[in-house]
Amino acid sequence: MSSIKIKNLVFSYKTQNNKNSTKNIVIDEFFVKNGEIVGFFGPNYVGKTTLLKYISQIHKDFKVSNGSIFYDNRAYDKQNNIPLILYIPQNYSSSIFPWFSIKSNLRIIMKSLDFSKELIEENVKEFCSDFGYSSEEALLKDYGFYQTDKLKQTSRIKNINELSGGQKQILTVLRTLMTSPNIITMDEPFSAIDIFKGIKFRKNVFDYLRKKKITTIIVSHELKEIIELSDKLVILNYDNVGRIIKGIENSNVSENEIETFAIKIKERYNLNYV
């Protein structure tokens, strides 16, 4: 767990569609406490993903012209060590390694961090138990990573190519959680998961994040989902060049309040999709 603070930050980056044009992000103030779960919400192209990448320090072309970001009250500097931040991208397919098995995919980030084999296996075991499963096999079976032949009464672990989009997304989230980072940033992490598995999986993920007090930022277009899951909601608006305009604490928010809030946002920003 770690805290994140941004104050009077202005940064620009080259847009993907047109390398000659730059886009600015302006943030007055933003604070995420240790172990807090924060939701980012806002219309398309407002810069939610960009801000998430900036916080995760995974974008190369950012130019900060004012302010700074603080991790655990220390200003970010390329030379300084920052907490372990793992980013779950929106495009889950390109973050999966199709040449490795499912189990190797689950362990690849830990391996890249030079974890010993024993530590990796220990982490996997501990994670499965904290996630509510007796073993890795039980966890993978529950999310359909095993192919069962009912006639022969045999089962085998699937190849990566046999996984559906939703399963790939589950794999990406599981891989990130297993690594036990200080901060997790997620960009629409449940968008491809079906409703049947999705409800249970989301609950398990957020129970785990709260239990382990992992500081989390999640981007979603599902307002109801984001309010239910997060401790605090941050709304990004492009009226003022990506300025964060509102953050609400949403402990004990009722269904009615969510609906009222959604309608208010819809009216305030003239959004049609909320």
């Binding site: 495009n91 390109s94 040449w99 690849i108 961090l113």
Partner: protein
């Protein structure tokens, strides 16, 4: 409807059988025995006899050409992968060398033969390999460099943000990302090596080699041997292509 394995196999063979059938029919017509036709057309039975004779008494020429093709391709592969990886991995190097290499690969290696003809010892293996390298190396380098360059930036970003060692990224991402490109380029390089080696054997006239033999039998008006060598070359190409495809299926199993 889904085709069975045997149906697929028969479909693939149908083209060959059709060509053979046409050749057999033509071989037994009067037209095949006419003077002008004999200058360029070989009957199927004569070609069959020539193939048997080649394998019985002239196998050294096939082995010699095969050895040249093999050595040249291996050298191009090794150098191409090493330089391609380096150029693809370092963006500035890629940008500065892209145009010179593109210029280099636009020059047909056949042109270089005319330069080599002025050299002593031009019939040596070294020059034949050098010729293949001249033509094939820029293709190999750029294909590998492009594959590295186009490998999923998102996969790389996951590790770059974690300050993972470069060797880990090379071993766990880049090598796999370029494998598919490596196999398809290897097939191109082999075809290229076959053409260049045979042409250079025709021009430089070494003591052994299919190219030298083709030229010899063409001069002696024994056209059936030219046909026989052409068929053998085709079979060698088919065999090598099949072997590479097998490796490709085994090592690029995720595609």
């Amino acid at each position: 409807m889904k085709k069975t394995f045997i149906e697929h196999f028969l479909l693939k063979l149908s083209g060959i059988f059709t060509m053979l059938f046409i050749w057999i029919v033509l071989s037994f017509t009067k037209w095949a025995d006419e003077g002008p036709t004999r200058m360029w057309f070989a009957k199927i039975d004569e070609v069959g006899t020539a193939i048997v004779d080649i394998f019985a008494t002239k196998i050294i020429h096939i082995l010699s050409s095969f050895e040249d093709i093999f050595i040249a391709s291996i050298i191009v592969l090794l150098l191409g992968v090493i330089f391609g990886l380096a150029i693809g991995f370092f963006e500035n190097l890629y940008r500065s060398l892209k145009w010179p290499i593109d210029f280099w690969r636009s020059i047909p290696p056949i042109i270089v033969i005319s330069v080599l003809l002025n050299l002593d010892g031009r019939d040596e293996l070294f020059w034949r390999i050098w010729l293949v390298m001249f033509g094939a190396l820029p293709i190999m380098i750029m294909q590998i460099a492009d594959a590295v360059n186009n490998s999923s930036k998102k996969r790389m970003l996951i590790f770059e943000a974690l300050k993972t060692k470069k060797m880990f990224i090379i071993n766990n991402i880049i090598i796999y990302e370029i494998l598919a490109s490596l196999f398809s380029t290897t097939r191109t390089i082999l075809s290229f090596a076959i053409i260049i080696i045979i042409v250079s054997e025709m021009v430089f006239s070494p003591q052994h080699g299919i190219g030298e033999q083709i030229l010899h039998f063409q001069t002696a008006s024994e056209i059936q041997y030219v046909y026989a060598y052409a068929i053998i070359l085709g079979l060698i190409g088919l065999l090598l292509n099949g072997i590479i495809r097998l490796f490709e299926k085994k090592y690029v199993y995720w595609q």
